[in-house]
Amino acid sequence: MNASLTAARLGYRRGWIEFKQTLTNADTLVPMVIVTMAFLGVMLLTRTTTVPGTHFSLGTTMLTSVLGMSIGVNGLTSMGTLLAAEREDGTLLRAKAIPQGMTGYLVGKIVTVSLSTLIGVAGTLVTGVFLFSGLALGSAAAWLTLIWVLALGLAATLPIGAVLGSLFPSARSSGLMTLALGGIVAISGIFYPITHLPHWLQWVGQVFPFYWLGLGMRSALLPTSLVAVEIGHSWRHLATLGVLAGWAVIGLAVAPWLLRRMARRESGSSVAARHEKAMLRAR
């Protein structure tokens, strides 16, 4: 059989094995559950508050926006931190020492992160249906929109996550990335309508994928009347498609080159040097 095909197939298996590991290990499962619960808690607190200018629950709106945001944040941070951490601990070097190992490794990462994102979205959505009223899940169009926003969201953020992961020198410094993302999310209209921000901040927010992921999910899951709250009173599907596809194209254009450069630099002594540095910090 063709060697790259074998490697891709092995990558799928690798992704599945590591996905199962995230679900069966307390150190990965517990934070995932805690974060989800924290978000659900905030939404529950705002369940009876209404979106300004409507009689609709702010909590329900927030639920849909957070679903969108979590796709983007997962794609970026999980991919980025995993790559930085696994470069540090030598996983990447092992992949490099094996024929087509890098192909398998990357396919594996994409599968693991995608599956984790999917299960996160599914978990939040299922819980949300029971806790919140007003979600419009009845039509096929709703599900169709949900699926394309989800798929495009992953395509837009996974390659950028890989880019960030290969740029950060260590797993620790990738924590900075999470912090910066927090700032961007804050101006992306996830927790409160973006139209209440100063004009220039609205523009900044709309550069990044999080706003569009939130908008896409709101368009899929909220009643049509809520479109009145959005910029231009429109769900702007075409623009959503355009911005997310743009990020995907940028990511896919840059990521392979950066990943190759990063892989080229890996060697036993560079892993050993980072190990030593990490040990010094731990002491």
Binding site: M1, N2, A3, T6, A7, L10, R13, R14, I17, E18, Q21, N25, E86, D89, G90, T91, L93, R94, K96, A97, I98, P99, Q100, G101, G104, E266, S267, G268, S269, V271, A272, H275
Partner: protein, 308 residues
């Protein structure tokens, strides 16, 4: 026998900034040969091996491993090479058997007639003595067990050339002996060419057909353990006893000395022992000699800078 040369290094140079880490290293290894790269810290052992593995670019010189330049070789070449890496935390959540099976599967498309790849994971786990731990998670292994798993991962693809950087650091004596048996088996039965670095002279002597001593970025000695000590030692220690009395003598030419001894005393010579300098003495002498040879220039430079 040119096609029997598997590793060929000529005038290899590596420069970091203004420091020459490798300063014209040349050597070759034949199929099935076990080579030990010996030398003090910072001598350039790891740099050399990483260049041969294709993990590091060189500054100058010619390098060929299995007929290809490691810096530009492709995946087919990669499949014929084994690298034993030092694990730290990688794949901590994987089970031992599961990981070996998975990593081995990448080699399957590179099987050749009479050379099926990879090794059976179960058999290999038994070979490195981890059968009891096959279902355990990698993070639960002890240091020595983890190292044996590293070795298993390095050879799972049935490599024709195997690189090991300090393979037995942290092994207990029993694990060390098992590892030595494994290396011998790979070299003898599978004709794998093996290049390893070590600090352990005893290990180099036991494992290697040939020892290269690297110091200050140059190879200062190349030969079997026996050849090296023969080359270095001008003196041997001769011990014997006669009429219950013990004698020790340092001889320039021990063979002639012993012949004379027997001619003179015949049957009454007992407990005869002739001991050449061991590898450790040889190694220390060679390294000291090399350092001394480099010293005068450094000394001169220092003096120059003081007066200038």
């Amino acid at each position: 026998m040119a096609e029997d040369i598997v590793v060929d290094v000529r005038d290899l140079r590596m420069r970091y900034g203004r420091k020459d880490v490798l300063d014209g290293v040349s050597f070759a290894a034949r199929r099935g040969e076990v080579l030990a790269l010996l030398g003090p810290n910072g001598a350039g052992k790891t740099t050399t091996i990483e260049i041969l593995e294709g993990f590091r670019m060189r500054s100058a010189g010619q390098v060929s491993v299995l007929g290809a330049d490691p810096a530009h070789a492709g995946e087919v070449w990669r499949a014929r090479i084994g690298v034993v890496l030092q694990s730290w935390r990688d794949h901590a959540r994987w089970r031992v058997g599961e990981l070996l099976e998975h990593l081995g599967a990448y080699y399957a498309p590179y099987s050749a007639p009479g050379l099926p790849r990879p090794w059976d994971a179960g058999e290999l786990i038994a070979t490195v003595g981890l059968t009891e731990h096959a279902r355990q998670k990698v993070r639960r292994l002890s240091g020595g067990q983890r190292r044996r798993l590293d070795v298993a991962i390095g050879i799972v693809g049935r490599p024709e050339v195997l690189f090991l950087d300090e393979p037995t650091a942290g092994f207990d004596p029993e694990a060390r002996r098992e590892f030595h048996d494994l290396v011998h088996r790979l070299a003898d039965r599978d004709e794998a060419t093996i290049l390893l670095t070590t600090h352990d002279l005893d290990e180099a002597e036991k494992l290697a057909d040939r020892i290269l001593i690297l110091s200050g970025g140059r190879i200062i000695a190349d030969g079997s353990a026996d050849e090296l000590s023969r080359r270095m030692s001008t003196q041997a220690e001769v011990r014997w006893s006669r009429d219950g009395q013990r004698f020790v003598h340092s001889a320039q030419e021990p063979t002639r000395f012993v012949r004379d001894l027997f001619r003179q005393y015949g049957e009454s010579v007992e407990d005869l022992e002739v001991r050449r300098a061991g590898l450790e003495d040889t190694y220390m002498a060679l390294v000291r000699q090399a350092e001394y040879a480099q010293e005068p220039t450094a000394e001169a430079a220092r003096r120059f800078s003081v007066t200038g």
